[in-house]
Symmetry: C2
DNA sequence: GTGGCTTCTTCCCGACGGGAAGTAGCTCTC
DNA sequence: GAGAGCTACTTCCCGTCGGGAAGAAGCCAC
């Protein structure tokens, strides 16, 4: 089974994926990870500290922890996004039958590799916020 | 005016932006750039070749070129996304009064700095497509 | 057995995005 | 000079996606 998957993976890797093509699977994958909740979840589970954005390695987080950290996410979207990330092999979902039940999420190696990119996206947003705000002021001033 | 903006920018840079907070401006910026059309437009204008994903420096592209390259984008979304990127100072929009009119778009330095990240996102999607597909097969097989 | 805790799931509805058609300005044809 | 044609939008309609709130499941404390 594992060998079959490895072979399948190699075959897939040999294909010429082009994310610009609407029909290409990599385009659909790109569409899915270019999503604000995906980026924020990966940032959170990667262990990035809120202020520095530095990564201290993957963290195991409970559903309620994520819900609290990602201000504004609805329960529906959080659950839905976590499930799709689990399906894609980016994170693992572990249910511990305590009372009440505990569900914890943790990045896989694959998820961690993507986390490095989303972390940089987040750092970019925080670092260039001032520039962007200044440009918006200019644009709006000219437009008015 | 320019000095005022520079000062404003410094002030903004000193604040502790935290993209996890829903009210933080950097969170809204992150929400905007975590968008499939934004990522694809930045990839296209950065000059990434469809197959290798390597960047050859910023390209100037016409509206129709972008429309053709980004398969599946609606005219409405393309225009809307380009406008918001222009407003944020990530690209410039140039109208040349030829007949018919020519409108060209080009990344600014700020846009180029973000392009480097989106290009890696795209490369990641294309590189790990096989792994993700394999994980999906596993997940769906277990679920059934 | 009622309330409470966590992790979802379901329902309703408003907002966002796709598709197609309409617009503007100019040029070329007939 | 009326109509077609070209690019780059803009507008309208409508389906789908996402937010908000309430319900469900499973178990324990009181």
């Amino acid at each position: 089974m594992t060998t079959m998957r490895a072979v399948q993976q190699q075959v897939h890797a040999k294909e010429d994926y082009d994310a610009f093509l609407a029909v290409c699977p990599s385009r659909q994958l790109l569409d899915r990870i270019s999503n604000k909740w995906v980026v924020l979840i990966l940032c959170a589970l990667g262990g990035a500290s809120p202020q520095t954005g530095a990564s201290e390695g993957p963290r195991t987080m409970r559903y309620s922890e994520l819900s609290r950290l990602l201000a504004g996410v609805s329960q529906k979207m959080l659950t839905q996004t976590l499930r799709s990330l689990e399906r894609d092999g980016l994170l693992t979902r572990t249910v511990t039958p305590t009372v009440p039940v505990t569900v914890s999420y943790r990045l896989t190696d694959l998820g961690l590799s993507l986390h490095h990119l989303t972390r940089e996206i987040r750092n970019w947003a925080q670092a260039h916020m001032g520039e962007v705000l200044a440009h918006r002021d200019d644009y709006d001033a000219v437009a008015s």
